[in-house]
């Protein structure tokens, strides 16, 4: 004891001495030991040699958020990825997907050489050829179509050259390629994504997305988005959402059929019946308007409706009505509406949950309206317009093709500005469109589309698609069916211009090869140049002039070297060095905010719609009786209270809650709730929904080892009560059956799901995408040994790759926004039947074709559309005739 006492005594003495020494300060400081500065990214050192690694800025493309990144390169090899501190919206952070992205580069199952099919389609027999041979072959096929078109003097033949993409971040490059060829047949992927959200927003206020000021808000209503894990701008939005909730004491309320991580993070979570979000939003609007909690001035000045119109329209949407439809208690709807309207500033956010239903565009428009009537538009902490920047296209830029493409823009969906890509194979199979050359870029519809087996059947059929090409560098379920593969490089080895409106600070960024393309592979941009040069070797067709680039880098210089402001800072050379422009300031080490050299926060600009039109621009302008300011036949702004504002990107330059374009085709011009067919399912049936997780994209990341280890199986979420009634226990094999067929998977019992819903994540259950995604190496010793990948041999501890739900999901299209209604498939869930094994999937192409017929009945010319919209004041017998537009 005495010993211990001595120590304690000594410690007191030591501390006293220490305090005195501290007081002495600098006089006692070591001159040899210098504190390391804490660098927030941008520098890294080799663990072997200690040498500083080369830091190369790039823009991420592990998913579509396009975060700013820095690649650390050592000996010509990427050893680490981290966030770019100069990117104002992602502020030096990458998500798990982004951090793992370099594994794409060195993946042993990457396609490193052009391959020409030698067996039957999908048989897996290939011949290795050179890029030169491959581009010559493609050019020959394209030239044959062009020659045929010219001989027949029929430009519509050019649309037989089709490109289908899933993720196009070429900055206009792919459009240039197709338009140079004279084709308008560019088919995107957006209708399996959030296109009905876009169409709910665009006619309302111009842009297709919102940019919430999460960090400065006080109240967030989250409708069906899992913003902390996925959704548009996940990383930057998630950062600022946490800033708002933790740093600004904001409240977040989530409506989601599933307890996502975002719902779990929320102060309150409600699980509404699927597809009833607009009933809730309209009921909240009803409360806000009837209780006088709305912003009268904003509605009067900045919308195309009156308070009286809104009150009349919203009258039926009582909280009690919404409770009946959604299951969310009326008292909570009423309370939350009041909180939302009286807590300033506030914002909503929504993503695929509300809009991926039949009539999904209405749902988005209803949610958007909550921000409008409360005056939270373009306010600090409110619901803001997206901020992006453009870049010029090199001149000359080819015009669009002369003939419209019906598969690019199906005429029965005139309001679907982001088109209806899901319908392409059905239209071709029914003879509504013809294909000669089908090109696939960053796309995997055989995995990622609803009723994916229809795409499989289409791509296997040489009579429907005589020549097919994929530019993928991975053997996806779709790529393995094509005739020719001309592999692109990964996103870390190529050039692209970028500007994502992922925050409140608009900026440009770039993608550039952080290493030399691996093994002599060739980026897609060079492939396009080569193909065009071979299609039109002497320029006689007038096509080559659009691709007279000395190099890919020359192409990029033409984008960036003449942008005012950037030009003075070095143009493309600045972008190569810094990766982003402008650089607003630094990220504060204290609170993560953007600050200037004095440490003061750089405040974003708000009220963009109120920007005044300069007097010089008003010269010659006319103020119309309705307030619109027109000049040279175009509307350039709106006059409100004597001031000339630029306003919003709508015909009236105001927020158009009333959408005349909707009414033209027999849709309700105001946001409404339409009861979905799935709402009237039988009691024994359930609704199948899907979701994304935080470490995977829809399909591209399944081959990344870091991510596959974290998440590789996707059991079906079922509520315990429902499971009990069905005789299902946790982990049991279950059969899930839709009208198309069935799948066999395992049950995951959780209270975090609506009792009427069964939910299965995407990203699992691959039959392609390499050894890791398919776990084929575990089928047999010989296959196990293929490639001799020691990671797979020794470290893949899991033997469950999951089961993909898309084959049993029905095609169903929102007739307004064109979105696939992912969350409307009615299913039965039962214990597995005798003979069922995990992963069994049995579906019918014929049944899917019936779904196509069925969904056309909801299109604006269909009988079910008319039956569902009797309230619309339109001449039903004289709706516009379906007409093809110029496609893209």
């Amino acid at each position: 004891m005495g010993h211990i006492k001595n120590i304690q005594t000594n410690r007191r003495g030591f501390l006293k001495l220490g305090a005195s020494a501290t007081a002495a300060g600098a006089a006692l400081a070591s001159t040899r030991l210098v504190a390391m500065e804490y660098d927030l990214g941008g520098a890294d050192f080799s663990a072997v040699t200690g040498e500083k690694r080369t830091a190369v800025p790039y823009t991420c493309m592990a998913c579509n958020i396009e975060d700013g990144g820095i690649a650390m390169v050592e000996n010509g090899r990427i050893v680490k990825l981290e966030g770019n501190m100069d990117h104002p919206n992602t502020r030096g952070k990458l998500c798990a997907k982004g951090n793992s992205g370099f594994l794409h580069v060195y993946d042993p199952d990457r396609i490193m050489s052009p391959l020409l099919r030698t067996g039957k389609r999908g048989e897996g027999k290939w011949k290795r050829i050179s890029y030169d041979e491959a581009t010559s072959l493609l050019a020959e096929k394209l030239r044959a179509v062009i020659d045929r078109s010219r001989e027949a003097n029929d430009p519509s033949i050019l649309n037989e050259m089709v490109v289908k993409w899933g993720r196009n971040r070429t900055g206009g490059g792919l459009d240039r390629f197709m338009h140079a060829l004279g084709s308008n047949a560019l088919i995107n992927h957006t209708n399996i994504c959030e296109s009905s959200k876009k169409v709910g927003l665009e006619p309302s206020w111009g842009p297709d997305i919102e940019s919430c000021d999460w960090a400065n808000t006080k109240y967030i209503l989250n409708f069906g988005s899992n913003v902390l894990e996925s959704a548009y701008f996940m990383n930057p939005n998630a950062q600022r959402l946490v800033d708002g909730v933790v740093g600004n004491n904001a409240k977040i309320v989530s409506f989601d059929v599933r307890l996502s991580n975002t719902a779990g993070y929320s102060h309150e979570w409600f699980a509404p019946y699927p597809g009833t979000d607009s009933a809730i939003a309209l009921a909240m609007a009803h409360v806000i308007m009837t209780e006088g909690l709305h912003d009268r001035d904003f509605i009067r000045d900045w919308t195309n409706v009156t308070e009286a119109q809104l009150l009349t329209h919203l009258a039926p949407y009582t909280p009690e009505f919404a409770e009946e439809e959604s299951g969310v208690p009326a008292k909570d709807i009423r309370r939350i509406a009041r909180e939302f309207a009286t807590t300033k500033p506030a914002t909503t956010f929504s993503y695929r949950g509300p809009c991926k239903h039949l009539w999904g565009a209405y749902q988005e428009a209803a949610i958007h309206m909550l921000n409008v009537i409360t005056g939270n538009i373009e306010k600090k902490g409110g619901y803001c317009l997206p901020r992006g920047m453009g870049w010029p296209q090199p001149s000359p830029n080819p015009p669009k093709g002369a003939a419209p493409s019906v598969i690019a823009a199906p005429p029965l969906y005139p309001l679907a500005s982001h088109h209806v890509s899901t319908n392409a194979p059905y239209m071709i199979m029914r003879g509504e469109a013809k294909v000669s050359v089908w090109m696939s870029y960053y796309d995997n519809p055989v995995y990622s589309y609803p009723s994916s087996h229809v795409w499989d059947a289409f791509l296997r059929d040489e009579s429907l698609a005589p020549f097919t090409v994929s530019f993928s560098c991975y053997m996806s379920e779709s790529t393995e069916l094509v005739d020719l593969i001309i592999p692109d490089v990964t996103y870390l080895e190529r050039h692209d211009p970028e500007s994502m409106p992922s925050g409140l600070y608009p900026c440009l960024s770039i993608r550039q090869p952080v290493i030399k393309p691996l093994g002599g592979t060739q980026e897609f941009r060079q492939t396009m140049i080569d193909v065009i040069h071979k299609v039109d070797p002497d320029g006689a067709l007038g096509i080559r002039k659009y691709f007279e680039f000395e190099s890919v880098e020359d192409w990029m210089r033409q984008h960036f070297d003449n942008i005012p402001g950037l030009k003075e800072e070095g143009g493309w050379d600045h972008m190569k060095k810094v990766g982003v422009w402008p650089v607003y300031g630094k990220v504060s080490k204290d609170d993560g905010k953007l600050v200037d050299d004095n440490g003061d926060e750089i405040v974003a600009e708000y009220g963009l719609h109120t920007a005044e039109i300069p007097a010089s621009a008003m010269a010659g302008a006319v103020v119309e009786p309705d307030g619109r300011i027109t000049k040279d036949g175009a509307t350039i702004g709106v006059q409100i209270n004597g001031k000339n504002h630029t306003g919003f990107g709508t015909p009236s330059r105001k927020i158009e809650i009333y959408k005349e374009s909707f009414r033209t085709y027999g849709f309700n011009p105001l946001p409404v709730y339409k009861r979905l067919p799935s709402r009237d399912k039988k009691p024994a049936e359930m609704i199948l929904t899907t979701f994304k997780v935080n470490v995977h994209t829809q399909s591209r990341t399944a081959s990344l080892k870091y991510l596959a280890e974290i998440y590789h199986k996707n059991p079906a979420w079922i509520s315990p009560a429902r499971a009990k009634a069905l005789g299902i226990a946790d982990g049991d094999l279950v059969r899930i059956t839709s009208s198309l067929g069935y799948m066999v998977t395992r049950a995951h019992l959780t209270e975090g799901i609506h009792p009427e819903v069964v939910a299965i994540s995407t990203a699992c259950g691959h039959s392609g995408y390499g050894r890791l995604a398919t776990l084929k190496h575990k089928d047999a010793d010989a296959e196990w040994a293929l490639g001799g990948d020691p990671d797979i041999t020794n470290n893949v501890w899991w033997d469950d790759k999951g089961v993909h739900p898309n084959p049993i999901i029905r095609l169903s299209i929102d007739p307004i926004g064109g979105s696939q209604a992912w969350f409307d498939t009615v299913v039965t869930v039962t214990p597995a039947q005798p003979g069922d094994t995990y992963g069994d999937t049995n579906v019918s192409v014929e049944e899917s074709m019936k779904d196509y017929e069925e969904t056309l009945r909801y299109a604006y010319t269909g009988d079910l559309h008319r039956a569902a919209h009797q309230e619309v004041d339109v001449d039903w017998n004289n709706l516009p005739h379906p007409a093809a537009s110029d496609g893209h």
């Binding site: 072997v48 040699t49 000996n75 090899r77 594994l103 580069v105 060195y106 993946d107 042993p108 199952d109 990457r110 396609i111 490193m112 050489s113 052009p114 391959l115 030698t118 067996g119 897996g124 027999k125 290939w126 011949k127 290795r128 050179s130 991975y474 053997m475 592999p487 691996l518 093994g519 002599g520 592979t521 060739q522 080892k705 998440y711 946790d730 982990g731 395992r746 049950a747 995951h748 019992l749 390499g770 050894r771 084929k776 010793d781 010989a782 196990w784 040994a785 293929l786 490639g787 001799g788 990948d789 020691p790 990671d791 797979i792 041999t793 020794n794 893949v796 501890w797 033997d799 469950d800």
Partner: protein, 250 residues
Amino acid sequence: MQADKFVIPADMAPVKRHEKDTDVLRAQAGLYAFLGRCLEAEVDAALLSTLRGPLCKPLEELGVDLGDDVRSGDPLAVLADLGEEFAALFVVPGAVLPYRSAYETGRLFQPQADLATAAYRDAGFEFRNTLSGEFSDHAAVMLAFVGRLLERQVEAAETGDAEAATGWQRRREHFLQHQMGGWIIGWSRRARTCARHPFYRAILGLTEQVVWADICDIVDEKALQRLVKANRRPLMRQKTDHEFRKASGL
């Protein structure tokens, strides 16, 4: 493994056996060159012609069966068939990738490639790919490199430069042991197991035997055991925990 760290150790053990007969060395060089060519790229008309001509009898005498079609089938058909087999075996995703990096790390173009490049450079050779997706640590390039080293050794011996000849021999033996010995035997065996066409089964079998025989000639028993283990890479099955699966393990 840094590229610039590749040097032939000065204190490397002296060669076990000096092959004085340059004809033997030249034959070895030809053998390695032949194996390298067969595995480096698809069989073309010239190679097929050689297989049917000057190499036909020696291969038969060695008991190497390249398949009936290679011996006498329609040339265009056999070239197409072998091209398809080459792609499936060595190129297409799912193939038995012929790269040391892939074999040892599960990734393409790792420092193993730098080591190979450095060794080639140090001996006066530069690796250049002909088609995309070819790396310097390709088994066939390594085989060809050994063949070139043997040629240099012959040249030195024939000009009476014994010191240089020994240097080339050391360089070859070091490369065989340290850059090929730990993987190429196991890789050949795996590829042979997966090969459909008798031509590749034969060539891969020959590769395994030739390289292993040479390695046995140059390393001691202890080192040999290490190489055997490295090449074997036994499968490791994980125990499946059914309770873990049942809990859904999200």
